[in-house]
Symmetry: C3
Subunit: 134 residues, 3 copies
């Protein structure tokens, strides 16, 4: 019912983890239900986004980096590096949890939808996403 | 337990679909539980928002259109029209799924809350929202 | 299975309600499951955020206040005070519902994660958060 995915993330940006996620969903042998994802971090988030054209994902990253730049004089929380406070803000503007129905044993994603971990730091390391199926 | 709402959306903006949604919830004859909505698109989103005064919804749309304008020179993903990349960005900043408790057979919304599909494109057509009840 | 937390909120900003929330989760005596929170208001939201360093939360509030200022000439919805329309916009950009897995009887939060009510108005009063456990 609950699994933890540990993902090796090396850089900022959108990371497709559908291979790992679909393996958990298939393994549960659930015909119909609900899959809820929760990310155990405050500087990365979960995103359902266009999976077809990589240029859309690139523009999305560039746009958010422009909206929430590093080295903004507003920040007082700077001890953990210039990418830390922007990462917390980006995480607050995006999702920590997302729920996707399961139909006919699969995630009921739309034709162009993919599930991504959106990493907001430059050198993150391991990231944990908890998968709850019911 | 799972239903699909197919909504005919004709223009950008907030679209109230509580009539369709409440019909699904009533039909389920669930006294207490959880209703999870998931939108199968990456250029529209789900929003719980002020239902009383339409001026609040208008300002919200105007504000987001100003934050994420069309024809921004940052965009490289432009083949599908000037409203496509802004639509993906707006969808990333808002919700793809939302969960609302069911109490006494009804969605436990606050006094001023309504459930909206927030369409980010100008000529969208059919939009699918999956409703999971448990 | 469903409880309502009524929180006394006195000012704008992030409010930690983990004491109240953990009491509900412990009381449910659920070993493994899912906890879904839903806020019954359109000018406050739910946020999973860094719990360790208060400077991160302060910067987050300052940043959002700069992005969505009061007295923006764009607003036509102004009858309920200068903090009302910004509050609706901030609520639309953040979460109305969030789902957190329960593992070994506790919310499966990451090491640095806390659960907050993000109040967007200056003198809010009572706020209701519904907690669904399954």
């Amino acid at each position: 019912m609950i699994s933890t995915l540990t993902l090796d993330i090396e850089r900022q940006g959108l990371h497709d983890f559908s291979v790992e996620l679909n393996a958990v969903v298939s393994g549960a042998e659930l015909h119909e239900g609900l899959c809820t994802l929760f990310i155990q971090h405050t500087s990365a988030s979960l995103l359902i986004q266009e999976s077809y054209d990589p240029s859309a994902r690139r523009d999305l990253e560039l746009w958010l980096n422009r909206l929430v730049p590093e080295n903004d004089p507003l920040y007082s929380h700077t001890l953990e590096g210039p990418d830390d406070m922007p990462a917390h803000i980006k995480a607050a503007l995006t999702a920590s949890s997302v729920s996707i129905p399961v139909m006919e044993g699969k995630l009921a994603l739309g034709t162009w939808q993919g599930v991504y971990l959106w990493e907001h730091r430059h050198r993150p390391g391991k990231r944990r996403v908890i998968v709850h199926l019911t």
